[in-house]
């Protein structure tokens, strides 16, 4: 139940590698924040600096207004769940969960109550006397969460807690973490490399790359208004299609693009937005998400011809990997329900088809700085 504030936090390792550059972030009380990014982007390092497991090279970390830079982890009143669970192998589940309480010298009957209550919530009451190695991955995960739960700490840190689980269990635990969050009602900082986890769990998402924050925002913000090409490509699956094209102005002041020689109007309010930013004409990177591309008929205005290379049948939708006439590869995500019955199993390799997309789904990025033109 506390706010966390990071001001110009920096991490430089002994070999002068900078892992985190001037990290500024205000985390509000009871907020669920997710750090997401590819491996090596500094997200875990930042979390570990908040936990006190890593020295802070520069800047300050405040928890509840108190600078904690020089405090040991034990004095920061935090709880943490580790990627590999870090359960003490020589202790039973009960002792694992009770460990921190015993260190606080809490009376045994209180410990008993707290541990059994937590075990009840997590559904591990039957395993309290087992050692960790006799548990399955999901059960271990619950014990790790239980261990963090009983501490009543101000901040709850989770370092890729689901990445050691198989896909099905991961989905299940994800839902449970949402429930847990509602129950504990405390500040969460969650690290993951999986954008789906980030989108489903976070109140706000912090997207990182090479030690720099790329964007901070709600899931909807980062999806709809990615600050730069990296964020645009990182969030959303399959990833956004990017094509190089010319941004032009037509006679009545609206912008147009002509990817693959097919002229498309930038409609749906985007032209006005671009004009408001005084976006210059010329070369741009045009991004369109696969789910925003629709199939078109031959001869329809704005239809881009292409051929099918690979198709992946996902059940409810079909992922088509297509190649345009100039050799660019694009991914198109089509709901199967929109397809003709004979196309539902997928389209033949090399079969021709036409695609198109509307202006309101277009994203424009500067080819040099890769920043969103609408920033």
């Amino acid at each position: 139940m506390a706010s966390v504030k990071l001001t110009k936090v920096k991490k430089v390792y002994d070999n002068n590698v900078v892992a985190v550059h001037d990290f500024d972030l205000d985390i509000k009380d009871k907020e669920f924040i997710v750090f997401v990014g590819p491996s090596g982007c500094g997200k875990s390092t930042t979390l570990r600096m908040i936990a006190g497991l890593e020295d802070i090279s520069d800047g300050t970390v405040e928890i509840d207004g108190e600078v904690v830079n020089d405090l040991q982890p034990k004095d920061r009143n935090i709880a943490m769940v580790f990627q590999n669970y870090a359960l003490y192998p020589h202790m039973t589940v009960f002792d694992n969960i009770a460990f921190s309480l015993r260190l606080q010298k809490m009376p045994e009957d209180q410990i008993y109550e707290k541990v059994t209550a937590a075990a009840e919530v997590l559904g591990i009451t039957d395993y309290l006397l087992r050692k960790p190695r006799a548990l399955s991955g999901g059960q271990r995960q619950r014990v790790a969460i239980g261990r963090a739960m009983v501490r009543n700490s101000k901040v709850f840190l989770m370092d890729e807690p689901l990445s050691n689980l198989d896909a099905k269990l991961r989905n299940q635990m994800r839902a449970e973490i949402i429930l847990l969050r509602q129950k504990l009602n405390t500040t969460f900082i969650y690290v993951t490399h999986d954008q789906t986890e980030a989108m489903t769990l976070g109140d706000r998402i912090v997207i990182m790359k090479d030690g720099y924050i790329q964007q901070v925002g709600t899931p909807a913000e980062v999806f709809e208004m990615p600050k730069n090409l990296f964020v645009a490509e990182f969030i959303g699956a399959p990833k956004m299609n990017v094509m190089r094209t010319e941004l032009k102005k037509d006679l009545n002041g609206g912008y147009t693009v002509s990817p693959f020689g097919v002229k498309l109007a930038v409609d749906g309010g985007k032209s006005e937005a671009l004009a408001a930013k005084h976006a210059p004409t010329g070369e741009v990177l045009l991004g369109v998400r696969p789910e925003h591309i629709t199939l078109a008929k031959e001869g329809q205005p704005g239809a881009i011809p292409c051929t099918v290379e690979v198709n992946e049948m996902m059940g409810s939708e079909l992922h088509l990997h297509v190649v345009t006439e100039d050799g660019t590869r694009l991914i198109v995500r089509v709901p199967t329900i929109d397809l003709e019955p004979d196309q539902r199993h997928g389209l033949q390799r090399d079969s021709r088809l036409y695609i198109t997309f509307r202006g309101k789904v277009m994203h424009f990025f500067d080819p040099e700085s890769q920043e969103n033109l609408l920033n």
């Binding site: 006190g52 982890p73 034990k74 580790f82 870090a86 359960l87 003490y88 840190l157």
Partner: protein, 286 residues
């Protein structure tokens, strides 16, 4: 065709297995013969000098009785006390060193390890000359050799950290971190988390530290310097096999060897599992 080939495989496996059994039996005999001989000769009564046969003509406990009446008792006690004290002290030192080098990242860590590596390249026999003189000044030589020996054994033992550091390295660091987040101090982490998990390596360290003094010869010889009261078994019994003594003491040496070997061997056999673990891990880690 395939059937025939199968038969061929099985037959060749049979032959090679038989060969292996023969080699193993021969090896076992070669490895055990010296120990069988030593036991048999320790019961030989008819003569005390070296003879060209193995089976005694007359059996008896004479050599063991003679042992009991000689300085051997003192040597044995000396060695036992040294071994016990060394086992305790050395284990503490080695664990302190190896845990620190495995878990803490401090400024001088790499330098310290490199320094100890270089230090280890000096033949330690060199140091003995000085140590002898220093211990002599402190009055810890000759009749008082036992405390002196213990001091020397323990003092530098921190340099033998490799094997246990290798073991500590295999315990995930996230356990330490989890415990620290849970509210443990570094000392509590060591005491409550790491040591219980490091039981095999603790036992290995105790075992090797306990066994070493039984076989140490050079340093013990320097420090006891000819005074029987300060000798350990190795130094004392070595003198029995020199030209002037071997005639009367050869069978006593055998008996002494048996008496020394029995407790050490039993202990070793009981804790063999840990020894194997330590030795294997140590070799892999270098």
């Amino acid at each position: 065709m395939s059937n025939k080939r199968h038969m061929g495989l099985r037959a060749s496996a049979h032959i090679s297995n038989t060969l292996i059994y023969i080699v193993l039996v021969v090896m076992s005999v070669v490895w055990l013969i010296p120990f069988i001989c030593i036991v048999l000769q320790s019961f030989r009564v008819e003569s005390t000098w070296q003879v060209g046969y193995v089976i005694p003509q007359k059996w008896g406990w004479d050599n063991y009785v003679a042992l009991w009446n000689s300085d051997f008792k003192r040597w044995y006690l000396n060695t036992f006390i040294t071994a016990l004290a060394t086992a305790v002290g050395q284990t503490v030192f080695v664990l302190c060193m190896s845990y620190t080098l495995s878990r803490f990242r401090f400024k001088m860590r790499q330098g310290l390890m490199r320094f100890m590596l270089v230090l280890g390249m000096f033949p330690n026999m060199l140091a003995m000359i000085v140590l002898y003189r220093v211990l002599k000044d402190l009055g810890l030589t000759q009749a008082n050799a036992v405390p002196g020996l213990i001091l020397v054994y323990i003092a530098s033992s921190g340099m033998g950290y490799y094997v246990s550091k290798g073991f500590f390295d295999t315990i995930p660091k996230s356990l330490d971190e989890a415990a620290r987040v849970d509210g443990a101090t570094r000392a509590q982490v060591l005491w409550k988390i790491i040591l219980p998990l490091a039981k095999p390596i603790v036992i290995y360290t105790i075992l090797t530290a306990f066994m070493a003094p039984w076989g140490d010869f050079v340093l013990a010889r320097y420090i006891s310097f000819g005074t029987s009261a300060g000798m350990n078994v190795a130094v004392g019994m070595y003198s029995w096999l020199q030209q002037d003594m071997i005639g009367q003491r050869y069978t006593m040496f055998c008996a002494g060897g048996v008496v020394v070997a029995i407790p050490v061997t039993i202990l070793f056999m009981c804790l063999q599992k840990y020894y194997v673990e330590g030795v294997t891990g140590g070799a892999v880690k270098g």
